[in-house]
C-alpha cells in the first residue's frame, strides 16, 4: 500500500503538467500533430490511474487540447470523475472541462445530476458558484427539470454572490425547461428590488431577455421598470431597461409617449456613449411605432439626428459606424430630417474604412430625390474612379444602378443622362457587373421610347469601340454590355444614323472572340441591320450599295458558321443562306427590302411574367370544364365512366352554341374585337411597329479602326456631367419662366406682392423629356413589368379624358390609312373598326364591355410587403365580417413569421383562437417567397353596423435573405365602411320590393352625383360591385336596386340617369353613411 503511494507520487513528478504540454507543443511546431498524439496516449495512461490529482492534471491538459480542435469526447466520464472530487482545486478543473467539452448530446451528463445537486447545496459558496457556472454552459432540458427547484432556492441564498449567479442561470433553465418559468417568476420579480445591486442587475438582465422573446407577458412590469429607470445610475442596468422598453412599446403605445421625456433627458445628460446610443435607438424605435398621429415629436427626432451627427463626426471609427447605422433607421420614417445631413454622409464616402463607406452608401440610397440624384451620382462616379479594389468598386457600381433605378426610375428626370452614366460605367475594367449594366440599358431602351434615338446612337458608338471593352481578358465581365448594345442597335435600327457602319462593326473578325451568347445576338441583329440598310437603299437607281451590303454579310458570316457555339452556328448558317438568296434576287433587280423587313416586323412589348393571370376569363367560359369528353382510361372500362359523364354534363348548353347562325357569329366577332380593343392585356399591333424609312441613302464609308489599349473617352460620347450642367440651367430657366408667369399674373391682378422664391419642391421639377414609362396601351402589364405587381385590377380602361380618346382615335385612323397605302398585312394586327365606331358615336354604350373592377383597397405598403384588403359579410352570422387580405412580397427576400394584429375597439374585434389573449396577434398561415402573393382571411365580430369604423393594426414579419434576417413591421388602418356590412342579396320579385317600399318602415334620403360621365350601366355596375347592391329592375332611365345588411336592414335605391339617387332604408344613419360612401366612390373617378 505504502509502495503504491510512493509510486504514485513518483509518477506524478515525471508527468507533464499543462505548462509542459503547452511548451512542448510550441517546441514541436513541425510535427505538432504527432507530438499531440503521443501526449494524448500519455493522458490516456494517466486517466487510468487512481490518483485524482493525476486525473485532474490530465483533464486540464485535455481541455487545452479540446480548444486546439482535438476530439476529447472519449474522456467525458473522466471529466465527471474529476468534477465529483471533494477538493475544490480538482472540482474547479472538472467543471471547467465539462463546461468546455459537454454539450446536449453528451450522455454522461445524466450521471451528473446528483453530483451537481450536492455541489449546489454545498456549504462552501465557491463550490456552489463553480457548479452554477458550469451548469450555465451545459444545462440540458433534463438537468433543467431536475435542478430547477434547487436553483430557485438558491435565488434566496444569503450570499449575494450565489443569488446573482442563481438568478442569471434561471434564464438558461427557462429556455431549456419553460414550465419552470411560472413558479419561479414571483421570486425573480422580487429580485428586481434586491438590496444588492449585482443581484438586481442580474434580475433586470433576465427579465429583459425574457421580454425580448415574448414582450406581452411583461407589460405589467412596466411601472416597476419605469421607476428603476428614473432612479438607477448604473449604466449597464439602464441600457437593459431601455432595451426592454423598446420591446414593450409596440404593444402599448401609451408607454411610448411616456418614455420620450425621460429618454430625451438621458440623451441630453449622459456622457456614456453606449447609453446614449441605446437611448437614441430606443427613441427611434418608439417614434417608429408611434409614427401615426404624433406630430409633436419632431423635436425628439431632431435631437436624435443631432446626436447622431456628433457621433458621425467623431474621429472614432466605431462611433461613426454606429451613427450611420442608426441614421439609416431614422431615414425609413423621417427621410426629411436625414436628408439635411447629406453633406456629412457624402463625406463619409471618403472614409478610409470600407465598412463605413458601405454604410454611407446604404444611406444615400434612401436620400436621393429628383433634385439631388444627378449630383449624388456624380459624386459616386468620382469614387468609382478613385476606388481601389474591385469589390468596393463593384459595390459602388451596383449602388449607382440601384439608386437610379429605384422605384421605377422615379428620380430620373433625364434619361439621356442615365444612358450616359451607364455608358461611362462600361469603362470600368474587371467588373463583374457587366450583365447588370446591360440589363439596365435594355430596360431603359425598351421602356422609354423617347430615349431610343439617343440610346441607339450611344450603343452604336459602343459597338464601334468594342475593342476597348474586350481588350484585356476573356473573362472580362464588361463585354456583357455588348449583348445589350447589339440588340438595341438591331431592334431599333430605324434610329441609326449610319446602319452600314454599325453593321460593319458587328461583323468584325474580333467578334468571334466574344462569348457565344453575345455572338448569337450579334449575328441575329446583323440580320436586322441588313434589313434596315436594304430598306434605306430601296428605290435608288444605283443598287450598288445594297448589293455591297449583301456581299459584306456573305463574306463575314462564314466565320460564325464555323463557330463552336451551336446557337451562333445555327443562326449564322440560316442568315447566310437567306442573304445568298437575297443577293440572287438583287442581281435580278427584284425589290426585296419589304419582305426582308417583314422578317423582323412587330414590336416587342414588355410583358410581365404573370400577365396571363390577369386576363379576365370571358363570361360563360369554364376553364375546368371538358371541351370534349375525356378519353377513357382503358378500353375495357369504357362503359361506366361514359355514363357518369353523360349524367354530369348538361348537354343542351353546348348544343345551343353550335346552332348559332352566321349573323350571331358576326355580331360576336365584332363584340370580341371591341373587347380586345379595350382590353389592355391584349397585344395589338401598335402604330410604332410600322417603321418609317425616309432617311436618305448613305454611301458605305470604310471605317478606320484605331486600336487603343487604354480606354479613353470615346469621341462623341456625351459625358454625364454635361447633363448635370444642362439640368441646372434648365431648372434655372424653368424657375425664371415660372417667376415670369407669376409676375404676369400678379401684374394682371394689379396687386403688388413680394416675390416668393421659396425653395424648389420636388414636384416642381419637371422631367426634361416626357417619357412614357407606362405605355398607353397596356398600363397594367407594363407596371407589372416594373415589379409593382398588383394582385387585383384597379384601373378602368374607359377613356379617362376626351383628349386621350381623340389621340387614340387619331392614331388608329392614321394606322388605317397607312395600311391602305401599303397594303401590308400584319398578322398580329386586328382591325379595330367596329370598336372604334361604337366609341365614336357613343350610341352603342350598352354593348361596351364592363371594365374589370376590384374591391381590394390598399391597406399598407412598404419596401417589403404590400397588403390589399376587402371586407365581406355573410348572412349566416349577423355580427361577423371577413376581412380578406392579400399579402404580396415585393422584396427579394423571404418573408416569414408574419403576425397580424389589430387594436380592437369596443364595437369591432378581431376573432382570435380560443385561449389567446385579447391583444395576441394572429399568425398568417403562410410564408412568402420573393414576388409571391397570397391571401389570408381574418374574421371580425362587429356589434353596431350603422357607422363606419377604422381599426389600427400592425403586421410584423421577418425578412430573411441569404445574409441576414431582420424583424420588420408595418402599421395599417383597416377601414370598415358601412358598405362592407352590406351583402349582395338578389331580389327577384319586383312585387316584394314594391311592397317593401310601400310598407312605410323605411326612411328616405337622396343623393346627387356631380360630374359623372360614364355610361349608365357602368354606373349601375359600379354600385353593384363596390357597394354590394343588385339590380331589381331597370326601366329606361332609372333602376331600382336592393341590398341587405348582415343584420337584416333593407337598403333600396332608385338610381336615375340624371345621376340622382333616391334611397330608402330602415336605419337612417346606415343609409346616410352608405350614400356618403357611394358618393366617394364616384368622386374618385
Amino acid at each position: 500500500m505504502a509502495l503504491k503511494i510512493v509510486k504514485g507520487s513518483i509518477d506524478r513528478m515525471f508527468d507533464k503538467n499543462l505548462q509542459d504540454l503547452v511548451r512542448g507543443i510550441r517546441n514541436h511546431k513541425e510535427d505538432e500533430a504527432k507530438y499531440i498524439s503521443t501526449c494524448i496516449d500519455e493522458i490516456k495512461q494517466e486517466l487510468k490511474q487512481d490518483n485524482i490529482a493525476v486525473k485532474a492534471n490530465a483533464v486540464c491538459k485535455l481541455t487545452y487540447l479540446q480548444m486546439l480542435g482535438y476530439d476529447v469526447s472519449w474522456a467525458a466520464f473522466n471529466i465527471v470523475e474529476v468534477m465529483s472530487s471533494s477538493k475544490f482545486t480538482y472540482k474547479r478543473i472538472g467543471y471547467l472541462a465539462a463546461s468546455q467539452c459537454f454539450h446536449e448530446g453528451t450522455d454522461v451528463i445524466m450521471l451528473t445530476t446528483n453530483q451537481i445537486r450536492k455541489d449546489l447545496s454545498s456549504p462552501h459558496q465557491y463550490d456552489t458558484g463553480v457548479a452554477l457556472t458550469g451548469l450555465s454552459c451545459f444545462v440540458t432540458p433534463d438537468l433543467a427539470r431536475d435542478l430547477a427547484n434547487d436553483i430557485m432556492t438558491l435565488m434566496s441564498h444569503t450570499k449575494p454572490y450565489i443569488r446573482k449567479k442563481a438568478v442569471l442561470i434561471m434564464y438558461k433553465v427557462f429556455l431549456k425547461y419553460p414550465e419552470s418559468l411560472r413558479p419561479a417568476f414571483p421570486r425573480l420579480k422580487e429580485k428586481l428590488e434586491d438590496p444588492d445591486p449585482g443581484v438586481q442587475s442580474a434580475a433586470v438582465n433576465v427579465i429583459c431577455e425574457l421580454a425580448r422573446r415574448n414582450p406581452k407577458n411583461y407589460l405589467s412590469l412596466a411601472p416597476l421598470f419605469f421607476k428603476l429607470m428614473t432612479s438607477s445610475t448604473n449604466n449597464w442596468v439602464l441600457i437593459k431597461i431601455i432595451k426592454l422598453f423598446g420591446a414593450l412599446t409596440p404593444l402599448e403605445p401609451r408607454l411610448g409617449k411616456k418614455l420620450i421625456e425621460p429618454l430625451t433627458n438621458l440623451i441630453h445628460s449622459t456622457s456614456a456613449m453606449s447609453l446614449l446610443y441605446e437611448c437614441v435607438n430606443t427613441v427611434i424605435a418608439v417614434l417608429i411605432s408611434l409614427s401615426s398621429g404624433m406630430p409633436n415629436h419632431s423635436a425628439s427626432i431632431q435631437l436624435c439626428v443631432q446626436k447622431l451627427r456628433i457621433l458621425i463626426e467623431d474621429s472614432d471609427q466605431n462611433l461613426k459606424y454606429l451613427g450611420l447605422l442608426a441614421m439609416s433607421k431614422i431615414l425609413k420614417t423621417h427621410p426629411k430630417s436625414v436628408q439635411s445631413h447629406k453633406d456629412l454622409i457624402l463625406q463619409c464616402l471618403d472614409d478610409k474604412d470600407e465598412s463605413i463607406r458601405l454604410r454611407a452608401l446604404d444611406l444615400l440610397y434612401g436620400m436621393v430625390s429628383k433634385k439631388n440624384l444627378m449630383e449624388i451620382v456624380k459624386k459616386l462616379m468620382l469614387h468609382v474612379d478613385k476606388a481601389e479594389g474591385t469589390t468596393y468598386r463593384d459595390e459602388l457600381l451596383t449602388k449607382i444602378i440601384d439608386i437610379c433605378s429605384q422605384s421605377n426610375y422615379q428620380y430620373i428626370t433625364n434619361f439621356e443622362w442615365y444612358i450616359s452614366i451607364l455608358v461611362e460605367l462600361t469603362r470600368l475594367e474587371g467588373t463583374r457587373h457587366g450583365h447588370l449594366i446591360a440589363s439596365q440599358m435594355l430596360d431603359v431602351a425598351i421602356r422609354v421610347k423617347a430615349i431610343r434615338g439617343f440610346a441607339v446612337a450611344q450603343m452604336a458608338t459602343l459597338l464601334d469601340n468594342a475593342h476597348l471593352l474586350t481588350g484585356n481578358t476573356q473573362r472580362n465581365g464588361i463585354c456583357e454590355v455588348l449583348y445589350a448594345a447589339a440588340w438595341i442597335c438591331g431592334e431599333f435600327s430605324e434610329h441609326l444614323e449610319d446602319p452600314m457602319q454599325t453593321l460593319e462593326a458587328m461583323l468584325r473578325p474580333k467578334v468571334a472572340t466574344l462569348p457565344g451568347h453575345i455572338q448569337a445576338v450579334y449575328v441575329q441583329n446583323a440580320a436586322k441591320l441588313f434589313a434596315t440598310v436594304l430598306r434605306k437603299h430601296e428605290g435608288e437607281t444605283d443598287s450598288h450599295a445594297a448589293q455591297e451590303t449583301s456581299q459584306l454579310l456573305i463574306d463575314r458570316l462564314p466565320l460564325f458558321v464555323q463557330s463552336a457555339n451551336l446557337e451562333v452556328q445555327e443562326r449564322a448558317s440560316c442568315i447566310l443562306q437567306l442573304v445568298k438568296y437575297i443577293q440572287k434576287l438583287q442581281q435580278k433587280k427584284v425589290e426585296v427590302a419589304e419582305e426582308v423587313t417583314a422578317l423582323f416586323a412587330g414590336e416587342l412589348n414588355p410583358v410581365a411574367p404573370k400577365a396571363q393571370k390577369k386576363v379576365p376569363v370571358p363570361e360563360g367560359l369554364d376553364l375546368d370544364a371538358w371541351i370534349n369528353k375525356p378519353p377513357s382510361e382503358s378500353e375495357s372500362e369504357d362503359e361506366k365512366p361514359k355514363a357518369v359523364f353523360a349524367k354530369e354534363e348538361p348537354k343542351h348548353s353546348r348544343s345551343r352554341h353550335t346552332e348559332v347562325d352566321e349573323k350571331e357569329l358576326a355580331r360576336r366577332r365584332e363584340a370580341r374585337k371591341r373587347e380586345q380593343a379595350n382590353n389592355p392585356f391584349y397585344i395589338k399591333a401598335s402604330p410604332s411597329s410600322q417603321k418609317v424609312y425616309d432617311a436618305p441613302g448613305v454611301e458605305h464609308i470604310p471605317v478606320v479602326q484605331i486600336d487603343l489599349s487604354v480606354p479613353l473617352k470615346v469621341p462623341g460620347m456625351p459625358m454625364s456631367d454635361q447633363y448635370l450642367k444642362l439640368e441646372e440651367e434648365r431648372r434655372q430657366k424653368e424657375k425664371a419662366e415660372r417667376k415670369k408667369e407669376k409676375k404676369k399674373k400678379r401684374e394682371k391682378r394689379g396687386k403688388e406682392r413680394k416675390a416668393d422664391s421659396g425653395p424648389e419642391s420636388e414636384e416642381d421639377i419637371a422631367p426634361a423629356h416626357q417619357v412614357d414609362i407606362v405605355t398607353e396601351e397596356m398600363p397594367e402589364v407594363s407596371s407589372c413589368y416594373f415589379g409593382v405587381i398588383k394582385p387585383t385590377v384597379h384601373w378602368f380602361p374607359v377613356q379617362k379624358s376626351s383628349k386621350h380618346k381623340k389621340k387614340k382615335q387619331k392614331k388608329e385612323k392614321e394606322e388605317k390609312e397607312k395600311k391602305k397605302k401599303k397594303r401590308h398585312h400584319h398578322h398580329h394586327h386586328h382591325s379595330n373598326a367596329g370598336g372604334e365606331d361604337s366609341v365614336q358615336n357613343g350610341t352603342v354604350e350598352e354593348e361596351e364591355p364592363l371594365p374589370p373592377m376590384s374591391n381590394y383597397f390598399l391597406l399598407a405598403e412598404n419596401s417589403y410587403i404590400k397588403m390589399v384588403y376587402d371586407i365581406q359579410g355573410n348572412h349566416q352570422d349577423e355580427s361577423k365580417v371577413v376581412v380578406s387580405v392579400i399579402f404580396e412580397n415585393k422584396s427579394d427576400s423571404f418573408l416569414k413569421s408574419m403576425e397580424f394584429n389589430v387594436l380592437d375597439s369596443l364595437n369591432s374585434k378581431l376573432q382570435r383562437p380560443e385561449g389567446a389573449g385579447a391583444h395576441d396577434s394572429l399568425t398568417v398561415p403562410f410564408q412568402l417567397p420573393p414576388g409571391i402573393s397570397n391571401e389570408a382571411h381574418f374574421v371580425f365580430s362587429v356589434q353596431s353596423i350603422v357607422m363606419p369604423q377604422k381599426l389600427k393594426g400592425t403586421l410584423t414579419f421577418i425578412v430573411k435573405s441569404d445574409e441576414s434576417s431582420t424583424h420588420e413591421k408595418l402599421d395599417f388602418k383597416l377601414h370598415f365602411t358601412c358598405t362592407s356590412y352590406l351583402i349582395t342579396t338578389p331580389c327577384y320579385l319586383y312585387d316584394a320590393y314594391a311592397k317593401l317600399l310601400e310598407s312605410g318602415d323605411l326612411k328616405g334620403s337622396s343623393l346627387r352625383l356631380e360630374g359623372i360621365n360614364m355610361p349608365f350601366h357602368h354606373l349601375l355596375a359600379r354600385i353593384c360591385f363596390h357597394h354590394h347592391f343588385s339590380v331589381v329592375e331597370r326601366i329606361d332611365s332609372c333602376a331600382s336596386m336592393y341590398s341587405r345588411s348582415i343584420q337584416g336592414h333593407h337598403v333600396c335605391l332608385l338610381v336615375k340617369t340624371t345621376v340622382s339617387i333616391d334611397a330608402k332604408c330602415d336605419e337612417p344613419s346606415l343609409l346616410g353613411n352608405v350614400l356618403d360612401e357611394i358618393k366617394q366612390t364616384f368622386s374618385k373617378c
Partner: protein, 168 residues
Amino acid sequence: MQFMLLFSRQGKLRLQKWYVPLSDKEKKKITRELVQTVLARKPKMCSFLEWRDLKIVYKRYASLYFCCAIEDQDNELITLEIIHRYVELLDKYFGSVCELDIIFNFEKAYFILDEFLLGGEAQETSKKNVLKAIEQADLLQEVSTEVYYHHCKATAIGVHHRVFGLSL
C-alpha cells in the same frame, strides 16, 4: 452574447467560450470563418461587422484579438466595454498581462471570465468584486499549483514580454 473568442494575430485560438449550444463541428467552422474575416480587416477599420444574422464586435489588444458575437438588438458599445473590462481584469490579475499568461494559464483566464460573465450576461460589473471572488477561490486551491504557476510565468516571460497596450 452568443460566444467569445480570443485568438492571436497568427489565427491561433487562445480561448473560446460558447453561450449557445452548438456542435463541435459547427463551433470549429464558425471559429475558422470568423478568425479569417477579422484578421483580414485593416487596422483602421471599425470594430463591428455584420456576420450571418449576428453582429461581431472585436478589439485587438497587442497581439490578441478579443471577438464577441452578439444578437441584432444588442448594444455594440457595451460589448466593447465588456471586452475592455475583461482585459482590465486579466491585467489586474496577472499584472501586466501578456498573451503568454493566457496561453500558459488558460484555465485562470476562463475562471476570471466565468466570474465576470455568466451565460453570456455580465454578472458582476464591479472589477473589485470579480477579483475578490477569484482570489478567494484561488486560496482554496493547493499551494503546489501556485508554485508551478509562478515558476512557469518567470521562465516564459523571460523569453517574450508583450504587455497589452491598455491605453484607450
